[in-house]
Structures are given as C-alpha cells and as structure tokens.
Symmetry: C2
Subunit: 468 residues, 2 copies
C-alpha cells in the first residue's frame, strides 16, 4: 500500500530542487526539523528535501519526477494537524503548499470563491466578511491552518453544528494526481449528479489520493446578528444531556460547545483570567451561540434555550454583553488545546457519537481512564457529538504511556463505535489513529478503502503510512 | 467495464427464484415489460427475471449467485428515474427494492432516521412531519420515488436550494457489494473524518458500486411557517437575472423555481386551470418560497424580495393566500414534466450551471434549438442554476430525432460546462446521458471513475452500461 522509506541520492535532490526557485528548496537539517513536526504530540520526522513550489507547473514537475522515481511525497499545509497527517514519515519529499496562497476569485454573483490550497482559513473568512459573505468552517486552528489542510481532514469547528463541515462547502477541486497529471473533480454548481462524486471522495482523504491545488467553495450570506451565552452546570452529565434537549426543542444554535471543569481551568490559567465569573460549583459549561439576520427571533430562541436549561443542572445562563466579551469567550474555548499542551505531554482523541450519546461517552471515557490510570480533559463540539479527549501523560510511566495507553484508547474507540459513532470527527486519521482503523471499518470496507487508494496511487507515493 | 448481455438458462432462473418467496419472482413477459421501463422517454428493456427480495439475506444470496455466475444485476427503486438508470439493458436480474419498505427507527433524540431503501420519499416526510421533523429533499417524483433511488441519483428538488440535496442528509449506508458481502459505509454522526468518504462516494453512484439497503439520514426541525409567492415576468431573461439578485440581497429562499411560458401553459392545460391568474404578457414566472420558525422575518424577507424584483422585468408579485393555493401552485410546478410528456415525445436534459449563468444558458439552449430545428420547454430549480430542458419531438423526423438531435444535446452540454456547470444536476447519468460523459470529465478523470468502478465491481455485474 505505502512505498518504503526512501533515501534520496544527491543527484535526485539536485534534480528535484531544480523544479523550484532556489529559495523554495531546502535540505538543511534545522529546516527539515522545523518542517518535520505538526501539532501532533511531540512527534518529528525528517524528510530528505523540502520543496515549496509556487506554480502549478512546478508542482506537477515535482510529482511527475517522484512518480517516475518512486519517491514518497508528503503534502503539507500549515502543519496544524492533530493526527500527524503532514509528518514525512517515509522521508522523501516534503511538499509545502505555502506558496499557493492566493484568493483567486470571489464570485459575488454566484456566492462562490476560488482559492489556492495555501490560503489561511481566517484570512479568507475576513476577506469575505468585508463583502458580507461567509465561509463557515472554523477549526480552532483557523488563524494558521490552510484551506487545503482543512479540505484534507474535512475539518469542522464550532459552527459546523448549524452550517456543516468543509465537505458541505467544497464544490470543485483542482487536483494533481500521483503521476503529475491534473484534473478538476467536479463542477462549480450547487447540485451535481454527474458520475461518482470525486470531489467528496477527495475531501477528507488527507493527501493520500491526490494533492489539492485549488478549491471552488460555496459561500452564504454572512449572518449579521449573534448572541452568545455561557451556561455553567453542576454536573458534566447534565450539561451533555441538555445538548440534545436544545435541538429537540426545535432550536439549531450556531455553536454549542462543551468544556469540563478542568478544561475551563486550563484555559483561564493560559489566558490569565476568565471573561465571565465561573461559579464555584461548576462541573462543566456549555457555550451556546445563536445567529441570524434578525435579532427578534434570536431573543425568542434564547428564551426557549433558558426554558430547556432550567430542566437540567444549569446554575445560571450568562449573556456575553458585548463583542469583546464574545471574543474572549471564544478565545478561551479555542485555546484549550494549546493550554493543555503547554501543561503536559498529551494525546488528543477526536471522538464523535450521535449527540444524545454524549453523556454515555463522557462517563465511559472517565471509566476507561480509571481502569488504565490516566486522567483526561474533555471538551468539544457537543452539538455535533464531537468530544475531544485530551489524555494527560502526567505521572504515567513511559512504558505505560507507550504500551498500555493504546489499549485504553482502543477501548475508547470501541465505545464510540458501539454508540453509533466513529474514531475521528474532524481531525482525520493521519499517522496516529491509523492503528485503530479496524475499529471503524469491517475488513471488507477497509479493503475497499485500500482498493480506492491503489486505483488513485498504484505506486503508493502520496502521503505514505497515513490513513491506511 | 460492463458485463455482456446475458441469457439465463432455465436452471439459473430457477436457482435465482429459489432465493425469494414465490410471489417475489417473475419471468412472465408482461411483468418484465411493466418493470422494463422507468420515466425516461419511451424506453423499455426486458430483464430475464424480476426478483423482489424481502430480507437482507435473500438479497445477499441473489447477489452472491450473480457474482459467481457473472449475471448482470440492475437494481430498481420505484422506476421514476429520468436517465434510464433502472433499465435492465443487459438483461439478467432486475432487482426491485420495493419490499424493503420499512422506516426502521426514528431517533428523535439525535434527529436521525434509519430507513430501508424502498420507503417512498413523501411517506417518510409525512411520518416525520407528525413528529415535527423534516427531511428536506423533495424531487418532483417524491410521491412515488424511493429513498434508495433518491440516494442513487443524489436527488434534489425545489428545497435543495436552502436545505441541500440528498448527499447533505445521508450519514451512513448499509450496502451490499458486488460479491454479496455487506458493509456500513460510515457512522451515524454529523461529522466524520475517518478514512475516505465511502458514504459520499456511494450517494449518486446509481447502483454501479453497490446496492443500498438501509440509510441513516440526518433530520432537522420542521419549519412551521411558509410564505409562497408567484412572480410573472415580461422576459425569461429578466426572471433568470432576478434569481441571483435575490441571493445577493442576502436572502436564501427555501425554493426559487423558474417556469417559462410554455411550461406554465402546459401545466395549466394538464391541471385544467391555474391557481392564480397569469397576466397576458407573462414570458416566464418565478415561484418563490421562504420558510422558517417565525413569521416576522419572513415578511421582512418578502419585502426585500419585492424591492429586488422591482429592478427587473417583474409584472407583479402575487402571494398565495392560503394553504390550498400554495398546494396548487406547487402541484402545477411538479406536474410540468408529466404535462409535457403527455403532449409529445420528449427528451429531458438536466442542465446545471452557477446560478448567475442561467440567462446565458437559457439563451444558448434556444439558439441551439433554432440551429437544430427543435423546440424546448424550460423550467427548473433556478436558485440552484438547475434548468430542466424538455426537448419536444413535435414535427422532427425520426432521423433528425435519432441522429441530429444528439449533436444539439452535445452542444447544450458543452455550453453548460463552458459556463462552469455540468451535464446533470439531479437526475443522474444512467443510460441516456452516458454518451456525453466526455464533456463533463477529462479522460484522466474518466479513467479514475472507471478505476473506482473496477475496484468495487471487478466483474462489472452491477447496473451494467450505466454512468460509464
């Protein structure tokens, strides 16, 4: 399936470097080390050469050369991934897409934008907002992550709840295939029933089937009104249970985030303060946002939400008074991952279940933790049933961390699938979740995935040792 | 790619019939003829045997036998397709899914439903509505078509505009593969970044990659308020141009349908009257619907829509006064296809472009018609840029119809792709659009589609001669 790790000769490195401008090739160890990491744990792998093509033709020439000479290619976005998808574990070429950083065309008439893969998500969103347009997917990393990386992992974020994930916005992709040829996967239309859905097959395929160069994305009008609430709960289970009750009441919030107490504390510590007071008995909190084009219905939604929360263990419902407070609340949520990471070595599991199963998932994670002796900090996109489980190394021995913990992780994933869920909601499989794919897919289905990989990349040069 | 047409021996037919109850097998000519058609033109093909399994194990046994004996299988839903996808062109087994007609579970807590493939779309929608739940995809055929067929073609309908097409609601599929084995393609979650997206690859694959038995569908709360307007225009181009202007004004209607005058007249004739008076100078009309959970913002939207329409060739904006009038307006729209068909032999092309390109598409279709001597009746989901072009045989000679018209259709499709569109928005490729796939896909991309087909169905027994 995957090509073997490959040492490049000096001649090969020189040939490859020729395809790009001198400043866009590097093989110095310190640069390779810098590019050898992403946001996944403390992992680092060295490629043999880093290449940063600036034009499609350069990119095609590199891929064609690698195809002919059977050299592994690891495509890389901004390196903010949490599953090791951008780590060059097979050596060879690390292909950074950072020079493909243009917003090619904003088509206001059709509510579409054409972007290159290296555009930063938040920069795109800001540019669009100036025109009253909205591209909703907003992973916590949106200030750094690239659209191409977001596509590779089918990223989500808080607003996915109401607006959907990346796959719901990708209309068409320009893709460089394993042999260096280039195709468009679909059409620039909202509807498409023409042949098998190549576009959707590529979204979430983590660079294993082709390299996304450009994307045509669907846009929607930017909602002009937003209300943000913070709801502290006396029990984490109560908070989780309130989540599905809000939807059953007919409300679709634009975000519904869960943070257990330890996550709140880490975030406050990291930020040096809290945007709103945290009642002492708080065991967990929900961040609830509603948005739209008119204020009145949002207030009505908030009233209904208050009624629902009153039936659970909610301490009080706090409203963010102004934009600055809204910003701080969001910042505290977006910073949890970094906050936890700054505190301890950790592994992040991206569990996802049908939302009403969240209380069972949370209880199960804690139980499994007790059995294997690890503590965890849980938070995430509760409205989507997407719980990020940060497993803390803390006092665990290196042996327990390396050899026992995987059994605990396996149990967590077996729990998610038994609840109708799966092993990654928005981070992807990459390198680190690959050993658990047998939990998500039966052998027959796994074989289909392998067949698809082979039909796109028979030599296995694209992002080897990832996903499968 | 596709298996050859296959005559079955009496022994093979007997063996196949054994897999189902006696009343669920038939090889009488009149029954095969009845099941040999769908809603595509006047086409009819005879299978060698019709089988209607009633349980998964029966279905698997049939497929396994066909796999071992290299017998073509044509899966069939309700037979309402417009691209010939359910026609058994290769003989063999016609596999009707009509006995898989159970709504298995409505999960109100998670807003999901599990259905069998043979459930009628409208029946599902009505059952869900009683619980305040909504499954939006609503093809014109929804009163007869099966969910499985809707999935096979990635169907849409008027509400796709605001709510998306079938692919946006399918979470997980139970699929019988070419060798008779069965898998689930994904998980019952709103987010999923676990492996390549098998679920989305199957949606729209027209039974060529596997046979969908069950589907887990996402639901949303049913919008309780709806307003419907009818806007007659002095020019069809004006009506088309107004469409993208409505979106640019920040409004997302729940439906935005276009009918040119001939389509209006056919529908009135077919229904024996018009729900609202049609001003004499009407060249085309838009049906505009807004929906939501509160009335006030809908009235505000209607005011904005009125302002936009005033800038175009709109004669007046008429409101449907009551539910009965709303129903009649929708019925007149949904009946156009049947109305045209009852009037003349016709071919239906399912063109789709970015919505602002509609005026160019419409003008181009008429120009190409003039060149090749055919008239057309155009209508469709203008908000999605999805224009159904009904080409009328009228006085065309059989020779022109069979040999010249395909060149005209080719020109229409070349026009749609040159405008950023493609050759089917929601009907699929099936049998009749297959000769035009080279317009939608470059040879490299087409080869990828073929590779995918081969990796799922190496013997080519599933729905032969369709799509590819």
């Amino acid at each position: 399936m995957s090509i073997k790790r490959r040492i490049l000769s000096e001649a090969e490195k020189e040939a490859l470097a020729q395809f790009v401008a001198p400043e866009n090739a590097a093989s110095a160890q310190e640069i390779l080390a810098q590019y050898g990491q992403d946001h996944t744990e403390d992992l680092c792998f060295l490629a043999e050469i880093l290449l940063k093509p600036a034009r499609l033709e350069e990119l095609q020439a590199i891929v064609r050369y690698c195809w002919e000479n059977e050299i592994p290619i690891t495509p890389r976005g901004a390196g903010t991934g949490l599953a090791g998808g951008a780590l060059p574990v097979a050596g060879g070429v690390l292909l950074s897409m950072e020079n493909f950083n243009q917003i090619v065309e904003i088509d206001e008439e059709n509510l579409q934008v054409t972007v290159e893969a290296g555009v930063i998500t938040e920069e795109l969103q800001n540019t669009l907002a100036e025109k009253g347009l909205y591209y909703p997917p907003d992973p916590a990393s949106r200030g750094w992550s690239f659209i191409g990386g977001n596509i590779a992992t089918n990223a989500g974020g808080p607003r996915a709840l109401k607006y959907g994930v990346v796959k719901d916005y990708v209309l068409n992709l320009q893709l460089v295939l394993a042999d260096g040829s280039v195709i468009w996967t679909g059409a620039n239309t909202l509807k498409n029933s023409t042949g098998f859905n190549l576009t959707q097959l590529i979204v979430g395929s983590e660079g294993c089937l082709g390299i996304v160069v450009r994307a045509v994305l669907r846009l929607i009008p930017l909602p002009s009104k937003r209300l943000l609430m913070l709801a502290p709960f006396r029990s984490a289970e109560g908070a989780c249970a309130a989540v599905s009750a809000i939807f059953r009441a007919g409300i679709t919030p634009s975000a519904l985030e869960f943070m257990e107490r330890a996550a709140i504390d880490r975030a406050i510590e990291y930020m040096g303060g809290s945007p709103l007071p945290v009642p002492e008995e708080t065991a967990a909190q929900l961040i609830i946002e509603v948005d739209g084009h008119y204020l009145e219905p949002l207030y009505a939604d908030c009233e209904k939400i208050q009624e629902v929360l009153d039936q659970f263990d909610c301490i009080e419902l706090l409203f963010a008074d102004n934009e600055e407070q809204q910003r701080q609340i969001w910042q505290s949520r977006r910073n949890v991952g970094q906050a936890v990471k700054s505190h301890s070595i950790y592994k992040e599991e991206d569990t996802v279940v049908p939302r009403a199963k969240l209380p069972q998932l949370l209880a199960g994670v804690k139980e499994i933790g007790a059995k294997y002796g690890f503590s965890s900090i849980c938070y995430g996109h509760a409205g989507d049933g997407n719980l990020h489980v940060n497993i803390i190394k803390g006092q665990l021995s290196e042996d327990a961390w390396q050899n026992e913990l995987p059994k605990g992780i396996r149990e967590i994933f077996e729990l998610t699938t038994s609840l109708g869920g799966t092993i990654s909601g928005e981070h992807g499989i990459g390198l680190v979740q690959r050993p658990y794919m047998d939990i998500a897919f039966a052998p027959t289905a796994l074989q289909l995935l392998k067949n698809i990989k082979t039909s796109f990349d028979p030599k296995g040069i694209l992002n080897p040792y990832k996903v499968l």
